[in-house]
Symmetry: C2
Subunit: 245 residues, 2 copies
């Protein structure tokens, strides 16, 4: 699948991460979106048991990660480095909303490695780090509190890339056997008989009741099994009424 | 702003959450996207210091949350309950990809409260809980590992809603003062003189060098200040050359 192929060329670069738990959570976030290349620049504590615990089923991403001393080394042969920041920078590239950046990032990743770069939890990317990037991506957020957790930002970024790539489709609709028009008509006839018998529907004053019932069930899109149990229910009401009289 | 107004009617309902840290992280994720109504159904440990620690700057969301015994109570007067699941369910509603669900959820939230419902970390939503929902949303994910962390799923869901609502715009482009055409022409003339003087450009064999320079600087979109320092740089080269000769 070309989409997964492009995602395989996306590197997540975490620079100077303070909390090892965030590295583990980021690995988990990446794997859920089909991204597995993790590069760490001078992490404060790594490897660390907390990183392993929070990686959960993405321990392989953590184990496959590499540690670098500088951002430059971590970027390696990437043709595009995208810095993530929660705010615009005076001296930097114009910020691009993540959703607009995603297709551009994917286009680069179609042929060559690209890097998404996330800075320290407290300070974000330094100006020096941002200067190594060719694009500045921003996750639009509440100006009163725009501080996404590091792994949460990685999750959103990877989700946007996977979605832009249409990498994963939601599970298909469960198999349904729709009722035929004939079955539906038989049901409505049954319903009408039962409502007349119970006195709920007065054939002399129908008040468009059947029309409204038809509209409701049309909206629901009846399945064959549903018609069967609805008619079973009607039959049980009819039987109950007969046993009473 | 009508977008923020709709987000104010979105409730996040966490059902039977095991880890208090996830409740705190979810509160933080919500607040970054302008969503603040948190409802908890029978949490295992709450309030809890770990929840407070991970909520970070979203302690207000945590403190404003309410605890309920049943999902039914937590849904309250919501007109739409959206269950989140990492997989389709046989007997349930057809799953809808989150991105497709977001505008529908927002449309309901324009006038009435809606609830996004997230189940237990390990087991997800029970069939009974899903039966209380009118819509099933899925975050498309890696079929080999679709297990998003609870707070990460809340982050992605809130991000999609805020983005669908265009609630927050990325920071504006930093103020720029573009150079005038006159300034740019003067720069190119200066550049040409300097390149001829240095011998890099042979006026007899120009090889379209100036054309390529023009194309490069046009693509960059020069600012006034940039023209000034580029010309300063050229002047320094010229001066250095003169002092040598």
């Amino acid at each position: 699948m070309p989409a997964l192929d492009a995602l395989s060329r996306v590197r997540i670069v975490l620079s100077r991460t303070s909390h090892p738990g965030n590295i583990g959570s980021a690995a988990r976030a990446m794997k859920t979106m089909g991204i597995s290349q993790l590069r760490l620049v001078a992490p404060k504590s790594f490897p660390h048991e907390e990183a392993n615990a929070l990686a959960s089923g993405a321990l392989d991403v953590l184990e496959g990660s590499c540690v670098y001393e500088t951002l430059e080394e971590a970027l390696g042969d990437a043709v595009l480095a995208v810095g993530f920041s929660s705010r615009g920078r005076d001296l930097s590239h114009p910020p691009r909303a993540l959703r607009d950046a995603a297709p551009l990032i994917l286009a680069s990743a179609a042929a060559s490695p690209v890097a998404l770069v996330f800075g320290n939890e407290t300070f974000g990317l330094t100006n020096e780090e941002l200067a190594r990037c060719q694009m500045l991506a921003v996750i639009p957020a509440n100006p009163a509190y725009a501080s996404l957790n590091l792994a949460a930002a990685v999750q959103v970024a990877c989700y946007e890339l996977a979605t832009a790539a249409s990498a994963f489709t939601p599970p298909a609709e469960p198999e349904r056997t729709p009722a035929t028009v004939e079955e539906i008509e038989a049901f409505h006839a049954h319903l009408e008989r039962a409502m007349i018998a119970s006195g709920f529907l007065d054939p002399a004053m129908p008040k468009r009741l059947m029309e409204r019932m038809r509209r409701l069930f049309a909206r629901a899109g009846l399945e064959r099994e549903e018609v069967q149990f609805l008619r079973g229910m009607l039959a049980s009401f009819e039987k109950q009424a007969k046993s009473k009289t």
